[in-house]
Symmetry: C4
Subunit: 218 residues, 4 copies
Amino acid sequence: MKMPMVFEQNETARIEAFSDGVFAIAITLLVLGLKVPTVYQLGPSGSLGLALLKLWPHYLAFVASFITILAKWVNHHRIFTFIERTDHAFLYWNGLLLLFITFMPFPTALLAEFLLHPEAKVAGAVYAGTYVAITFAFKGLWHHASKNRRLLAENVDDREVQQITTQYQYGPLMYLGAFVLAFVSVSLSVVTCLCLAVFSAFRGWPMLRLKVRRSKNK
Amino acid sequence: MKMPMVFEQNETARIEAFSDGVFAIAITLLVLGLKVPTVYQLGPSGSLGLALLKLWPHYLAFVASFITILAKWVNHHRIFTFIERTDHAFLYWNGLLLLFITFMPFPTALLAEFLLHPEAKVAGAVYAGTYVAITFAFKGLWHHASKNRRLLAENVDDREVQQITTQYQYGPLMYLGAFVLAFVSVSLSVVTCLCLAVFSAFRGWPMLRLKVRRSKNK
Amino acid sequence: MKMPMVFEQNETARIEAFSDGVFAIAITLLVLGLKVPTVYQLGPSGSLGLALLKLWPHYLAFVASFITILAKWVNHHRIFTFIERTDHAFLYWNGLLLLFITFMPFPTALLAEFLLHPEAKVAGAVYAGTYVAITFAFKGLWHHASKNRRLLAENVDDREVQQITTQYQYGPLMYLGAFVLAFVSVSLSVVTCLCLAVFSAFRGWPMLRLKVRRSKNK
Amino acid sequence: MKMPMVFEQNETARIEAFSDGVFAIAITLLVLGLKVPTVYQLGPSGSLGLALLKLWPHYLAFVASFITILAKWVNHHRIFTFIERTDHAFLYWNGLLLLFITFMPFPTALLAEFLLHPEAKVAGAVYAGTYVAITFAFKGLWHHASKNRRLLAENVDDREVQQITTQYQYGPLMYLGAFVLAFVSVSLSVVTCLCLAVFSAFRGWPMLRLKVRRSKNK
């Protein structure tokens, strides 16, 4: 086929809206992993306060995954502000990314369940490993979109493109580090994932600002 | 960095749409905390009517949380009608707020499970405590946005800003009262939470009206 | 307060979007009431086909609730095409309606669980009773909006208003009939609910058409 | 009634937005079918890695259903780009389609649970059978919309209409093949479903492109 297989701008809006929905649902489903203790489990004289405190791995996993998905949403949204076309490969990269995002409640619940178990390192590795997968999907998505400015809007600044490319070069490596760390100390691995999420959310927004300003100056 | 880190108007629309999604999902997930009695539990000759009546703490918790989340959505939406820019700190306050909102199904199910148990006061404290946290997140969000009119639209009236600020001064105190009340009477604490939700929803909308009218008069 | 407490048009769009989200989530959560038989329950030599056939009350309840929620969404959307303002009471009626809609997965699962149990009539009454509540919320919503054309758009035809008012006069009565029927025959009651849903969806759309045409002729 | 019962363009946007929501929720709910092993099941000395590997049928079903629903969303969106009116029958076809889409988590969990059980062929048949149902709903939806160009936009090219019609002629047959295959080899049937999903997503987008280009040339 001679024509380049690219789709127009309102298609990207549609794909972003669908993806936003998936992110919002995945982040809200995390709470279903928090199992409420039952009256039966506690017995008539057990301490509910103590039972709730013992659930701390569940709260930690919930908070870490919440912040990460939120940060990933910020990242996803940022990429879409630079893009004005889509093509098949972009759709597949985006689909792969959404697959890993919707999967998140599983490793989250797994980590919470096994954080204090001798096999915690396996749960931690699956947890950090899911983040590695998400980061690679992001890297692939961005690489495909930005190569030769394939899907980028014309008014996007090369400097900004380079900035994001650099960020996606280091991101997967850092999450790989968290993955390896899981075999040494699961808690340290989870805290690393948490810090990376906060950090990447922080990095994401200033660029948005630059972009919007730039397009206003045109 | 010299430039103030603020983002433009369509970014606030995006953040509000995502937040709206999270509110809508959280409010609909509450029903999953209502466990249907099973044929096995009831036995062949049990009374289903009686079994359903015994679930009243679940209905109470469901209704109280439903109304509260709805009222909080109204509040959230109201804040966004005054704002035309966002910045990092605003994003973090909003993220914190959404974290507590998505958490709501947990204290709701906890309250329902333990309302008739000797440890009910702990469940009630967690329930009211979550509302305290939500109110503080709202207070922080509004304080950050309104201080020196940092993120507010130009045409917003100082009188209205002051009105909301006053409301957010008393809100957390009232929920703190409900929290303390939980240690005296859980039912009274839950009813207080319910009343506060209805009241705050009531207070929220007239201002919206003022705002819209004002911008039309311009 | 002297000024009438009414809000402007983009507020109704916002409320409708939020309500649409709740409808879409509630209709999709119904499937969580369908419990998959487990390998353990079936044993190594049980017949899966037979086990699945025995779940027919679950499929019936799922389909009946799906069609009803879809029909109610059509109805809800229809009302909003006539309205251009909201006020407090309208918000409360809409909130009440959404409360019953989000509740739907509970009576659906209850009906499925007890349809073949001696206590089926209680489950059937709760199921039809929820529909009665939904219909009354709709009636209240419409009555409030249409009385003296309080919240209606100017170009709405009196004849059409009357048509809907008539429909909401008979709707609750019919669902009350289904409720009473539950004590005679649960299956008949469920089938009645199903027919009413299909019928009300059918009635809903032609009016939309009239409305759209009319506003084009202006 | 003399007037043809058709509704205008913004109605189709509304229906598509609602359908998009249902697709996004259904695809995200799939993860709830992945049951995390518990500490209790594993015991103090069990291997979590091994326990997770044994869950492979669950991952396979999750991925196959995820890709299929995503592909069906692409298909659904494509049909809507050609349509500018709706009518009753179209609404019912679309409702039927959404019914099968929201049902998807059930056959997905069923397949995962029984893939290694002697009764696997029944689970596989239900799984592929749901896809057959989805494909027939799509075929009905498209047939109704495209017959005599009933609901199509004026600028849609006959060649493109024919292309989609052809695709919907073969689609149901292929899924029927996967259904029959389930009685021979479940794994082969699932893989066939997976391939069909990828293939149909691939086929869907180029036409979108053509359409958008065409309308720009007008």
